[in-house]
């Protein structure tokens, strides 16, 4: 393999049988026209593939992301297609991965790095908080850090301890980081592309419980519509989505909790209650206007998140909405969150995770009799 970073077409000129297979499968998925049933994992994989193809400075590295394709297969086929220079395994050292990415971003690259699991990212905390978040500010804007830290996060997969943390608050609390978390397959694609194209560092929180969830998506048109959308200024950063319109109360959720909120809204509809569901999409920057517009309309709100409630993203959302919508509120804002306990063992996680019943109980408590 040439030591030079090449464009993907050149890289494709020098392929092994495995490479050819992977390239063919990626090409086939890209060529198949029309909506198909696609997983979030596949959408993220396609986003990485397309971003690497679009820009030779995009590099992917981390633990097991090369030959194996990542423990969740999000980087599947990238090494085979783009070569070991552009998608590679590192030694097992998370601070090393992030610190090296900082240097690469300083020197003209767009690294997309994987922290294998939420709780495995903690050794990199100093690099993230002291350098990733602060380099642009420290250098008065002279140094941009266009890097993406992908963090598979959250529970609901029967994982052992340290594989199920909701660690978004640590990053959201750190000034200088942007924090994205997609909840749908289509958002997985466009938000990852947008994160890679961003000149700011993005912590990209991937709800691992949703990796295998499917939507009908036209994979072949995602790249074109992403490019068209961003050209027209239709970005997702700082723009929450109305995942389901409603009139009686607003459920505010992000990442892994969005499908749970949608299920709760569906159940409430059967009882004659119309719930609007807002998908926050980017925790930083937060879309105050979409969230508050909804709450002003409905007058009632429940915030749903898997993370512990204390000093969390959910507490921040409640505070913001209360500050902005106080006179429109018919009831105090409720929260349905994880308990303030270390993430439980697999047989106990169902008691911990916010579920439809707990959400509906919270909705019932929103002082409807008045």
């Amino acid at each position: 393999m040439s030591p030079t970073i090449t464009t993907s077409s050149e890289a494709n000129g020098n392929v092994s049988a495995a490479t050819a297979r992977a390239a063919a499968s990626a090409a086939a998925s890209a060529e198949a026209a029309g909506p198909q049933s696609v997983t979030l994992a596949k959408a993220l994989n396609t986003a990485l593939f397309d971003a690497m193809q679009a820009d030779p400075s995009v590099l992917v590295f981390g633990e097991d992301v090369g030959t194996l394709g990542g423990v969740f297969r999000i980087t599947d086929g990238l090494t085979a297609t783009f070569g070991e220079q552009r998608c590679f395994d590192t030694p097992l050292a998370e601070s090393g991965i992030v610190g090296m990415a900082v240097g690469m971003a300083i020197n003209g690259m767009r690294p997309v790095i994987e922290m294998q699991f939420d709780a495995f990212a903690y050794p990199a905390f100093e690099q993230i908080v002291s350098h990733v978040a602060k380099m642009h500010n420290r250098t008065r804007g002279a140094v941009k850090l266009p890097l993406v830290i992908r963090v598979p996060y959250g529970g609901g997969i029967g994982g052992v301890e340290h594989h199920c943390d909701s660690s978004e608050a640590y990053y959201a609390h750190t000034a200088g980081l942007k924090v994205y978390t997609p909840a749908t397959v289509a958002d997985g694609y466009r938000m990852l592309r947008e994160a890679i194209d961003s000149d700011d560092p993005v912590v990209f929180m991937e709800p691992k419980k949703l990796y295998w969830s499917k939507d009908l998506v036209d994979l072949s048109s995602l790249s074109a519509s992403y490019v068209e959308g961003t050209t027209a200024g239709r970005t997702t950063e700082g723009r929450a989505a109305v995942a389901r319109p409603g009139t009686d109360a607003t459920l505010i959720a992000y990442g892994p909790s969005v499908p749970t909120a949608l299920a709760a809204a569906e159940a409430a509809a059967l009882e004659g209650r119309s719930l609007e569901v807002i998908d926050v999409r980017t925790i930083v920057p937060f879309d105050d206007s979409t969230v508050c517009e909804s709450v002003r309309k409905t007058g009632r709100a429940v915030v749903i998140a898997e993370a512990h409630g204390f000093a969390s993203v959910s507490s921040e959302i409640v505070a913001r909405v209360q500050e902005r919508c106080f006179h429109h509120l018919a009831a105090p804002i409720r929260r349905v969150t994880g308990f303030d306990i270390p993430y439980p063992a697999p047989k106990l996680e169902k008691y911990y995770l916010p579920g439809v019943d707990r959400i509906l109980d919270a909705v019932d408590d929103l002082q409807w009799e008045n």
């Binding site: 610190g99 690259m109 642009h136 250098t139 942007k178």
Partner: protein, 408 residues
Amino acid sequence: MTISANHTAPHQAGTASAEDALTEAAKKFGITAEDYMLPARHQIEMVDPEGRLKPEGEQGTEPGHEYPLPGDAELLAAYEQLVVGRRVNDQNSALVRQGRMAVYPSSHGQEACQVAAALCLASGDWMFPTYRDAVAVMTRGVDPVQVMTIFRGDWHGGFDPLKHKVGIQCTPLTTQLLHAVGVAHAAKLRDEDTVVLAMCGDGATSEGDFHEALNFAAVFHLPVIFFVQNNKYAISVPLAHQSVAPSLAHKAVGYGMAGERVDGNDVVALLAVLDRAVALARGGSGPLLVEANTYRMQAHTNADDDTRYRESAEVAEWRAKDPVHRMRAYLTERGLLDSAAEERIAAHAEEVAAALREGLSEDVPVDPQELFRHVFAKPTPQLKEQSVLLADELARDAPSIDSKEAGK
């Protein structure tokens, strides 16, 4: 004992070339890979504390660890920078005492390391300094007043790292070594011949990032020179509490890279060792580790009291090994330095000191709105709101300040 880096990993970029490089280097120097990686039995030293050139047999060199004497022009340029560096260190300490700078971690006594670190690099190379390496950054060509911005307190950093190819100084320990590794890795992927000098102190070798940076640089076979200034203290904690390794340079062998020890107060030996390290790295040797044996002559900063943890006799012992005096004696003895040259160099040092005094006395107006300007490349609506909030607050305060002023 045989040391062989025989880890077959056909799919891992870089590993194969790292193995080849060790074998090649050993072959080139006619020694074993083990002897190539291990530092020479003694530190490399060329000019003794009295300024006398040591006989070749006493310079610490041995087969595969040979170092030619740097040229006269290079030595004279280094001496000039030593004098300027010493003047800057002492000027800055004075400015702190006068309250014109918040703090200054002086490299007084370590100027030979500072100067050699900058002079061994080409203009396209990168340097990643620590907070104590202001003189190295200046020697690299960054405006002294810009370098001191971090210590003056009007912003966290004062120079453009991309323009000068110098990492921005800051206070976390050792984290910059990984940034150096990343810069080198990016350059290597683009087939550029950039060499990166990554600086740290003896205390930093205890940090996890030291291990991760050296291991990453070795595994990816990157042109990084890890330059450790062993100045014997991490604030108050002596070297003996950091490591019981035979030397810090010996750590190199554990990563599969070559290490060397050098007299850190002898700029001749430093230049010889670092120049060769740069040439080797540029030629594809992979990373190297150089430990400079030096001493922090002053307290950690003005806020520190070094009499609480070390004896003045120890400091006096190192004062006798001063890098500036040693070089002056050596160059004078060689007939390379006469009183005219001394006067010119002293005048240059005074000019730099005067520029520092002037630059740091200047009351640079701070712009409160700059607080929000650089947090993100693309600002968030929340920061825009907070910026308006502060602007309103300042607008409300402005008339009252004016009236107070008017009332005086």
